[in-house]
Symmetry: C4
Subunit: 206 residues, 4 copies
């Protein structure tokens, strides 16, 4: 009984996670390097060289915005979490493991976008993070230890649905990526409003 | 209605942004590398080698100080923001996208400072950040959701003018850079006191 | 007497440490690089190339999770520390010195895992951190300056035992690593529950 | 008058600075790379290779501990600063400019330690930071805007003396470095207790 460690405030988990997200997002830029531009002696050549790395720039922008989205999901979740125990710390670590890998899978995606495997690596990486987002949220909302702060049942249900919806969207991206490459990530912009529209229509019917 | 997510405290947005600014500022130093110094066996050669990278050092110093300035603008803005919603989070992400790119555009600027395009990349990058600074501030001050803390109308007007003034200065830098290169950034040191002087004279006239 | 500096709140020590842990954990990914994949033109080759770096990926995952574990130990300790003085700051710096080295020792471990010395470097690095974890905790709990917050004698004893247990486990890893390589780190997963089980049985006997 | 911006809390200056210190300290490890070890096929060769980079490791350890020391100075100073204005923000930025350069000057120092200039670069870098430490503290303690929190005159005097003493020690290191290289940094360990001893004797005489 004495050995049971105390519940912790999520404060430092948040600081550690913010750091990891910020660093992963910033390391993405290391893939853009003047060394890749080749030898250049006039404006036309620089223009072409920048054009040649435009695919890398696009990969960078997509991954940066998706990382920001994952960070927002994290921030929203922990707005409600008031205490954390060991399983939360570990689930969060496994989630961050996926976050840290994103700079690597982004460059695989940029370099081998014409290969099936190259197209799948980044979507699978995001799916990993979204799965642990959902698992952590499920654990927190069902734990009997009182980890959750003040939150109505409606809010719990809405946020659980959002977490599961993100996993489904992540799965849709994995399925679409072999056919349309990075465009598949647009699902993250399309699915939530679609879901809201369908849900709104249903509600009006009742 | 239930789906409408709560407003968040800006605490974690600040932590994430501070991290991104700090990392971008520190990554700038990776452009300075002993590998660029070449083979060196005496003091004279080291002195010359350090002289040869003096342009890179200058680029580093300029970008570092400009990043510090952008961070200060961010800090001043969020001193007044008490709550954030999704548009604020996304506008801030787009602003940070520009911040993260600065180490890359700085090295483009250092390596191709004799080319028109090389001179324009860094000023355009800064203009991007300043535009989203202004857009975010505009959104926050006009939103009916009560995002702003205790702030008088005069203070709101003064800070909006400062945000717009920064965009104008950024534009001046873009226009001057083709002619005078990195010296154009001195506009950030010259314009604000000039503006204050003109404003002061006008006020005295009334 | 006047020269004696005040005791400080651990707030900034925590922020600095969180930053160092987050960066060390994220820098691990730099070891995974598309440049190591070689020239690839079809799916099979990419599959093989990713298989060829699977040992690096495993090293990355192990070191990432161990770093997360060290961060959790740090977080748990400072949950109870309410004030810090110079010796605490220095002991923490020496602990972080070990944390910062982990990306380097991880790549030594990944590249030379078939050599005795290659196998020992990473376990010794972890032992260093665990030793300073324990030393810092010992200093804090025995200092007469009142560094510790509200904590029962039972809790102090339990946490001291945990800190010493971690050092012993670290030592076991060092001893096993020459024979079973990275599998030795499984000791961190095996020893604590074993210890708890033995302890539980003893208690029931009384 | 309306244009005069409000005084800010030092909270975000601290977060930004902690980030910069943490990243600079962690980037130091990038200088230690398995790529520098050369081709190795047995234990003896790895042992020799690690021995060959021992000078780099020593440089790393010295710079890491000095960075930790500079961070402690920063932390102690801002323990007393309750509000910051623009000059404080800029003086802090110039101080951080020196901090960010340390990974670069450390590798110059490690690679060219047999040259006079190579020996001077790192001590001059530290002197830069210490000078701005002192300038910032001087500004804060003499500003009429009430930036300082609750602090007795004796405490102000003691801390000003410590800041100036650090500058002097930094100068001693610059003067000694041409003759004894990195050993000169031991001055930071020797001078403060020496100073305390002399001061203590004087006090007893009165």
């Amino acid at each position: 009984m004495t050995d049971q460690p105390r519940l912790l405030s999520p404060r430092r988990l948040e600081a550690f996670s913010d750091g990891v997200f910020a660093i992963a997002a910033t390391l993405l830029v290391l893939d853009l390097s003047v060394d890749h531009l080749g030898s250049i002696s006039n404006n036309d050549q620089l223009w072409h060289a920048l054009g040649a790395i435009s695919e890398s720039v696009l990969s960078f922008v997509i991954s940066f915005l998706l990382l920001c989205m994952l960070w927002m999901v994290h921030t929203r979740q922990f707005e409600y979490v008031k205490r954390v125990d060991d399983p939360v710390l570990w689930l969060n670590s496994l989630r961050l493991l996926g976050v840290v890998l994103i700079p690597f899978t982004t460059s695989v995606n940029a370099d081998f976008s014409e290969l099936l495997l190259g197209r799948l690596v980044l979507p699978l990486n995001f799916l990993w993070v979204l799965l642990f987002d959902w698992a952590l949220w499920r654990y927190v909302t069902t734990s009997p230890r009182g980890l959750l702060g003040d939150m109505s049942d409606d809010e719990v249900r809405a946020s659980s649905r959002r977490a599961l919806g993100a996993v489904v969207t992540g799965l849709v991206v994995v399925l679409l990526a072999p056919f349309i490459g990075s465009w598949a990530f647009l699902a993250f912009a399309v699915v939530p409003p679609l879901d809201a529209a369908i849900r709104g229509r249903r509600r009006r019917r009742r």
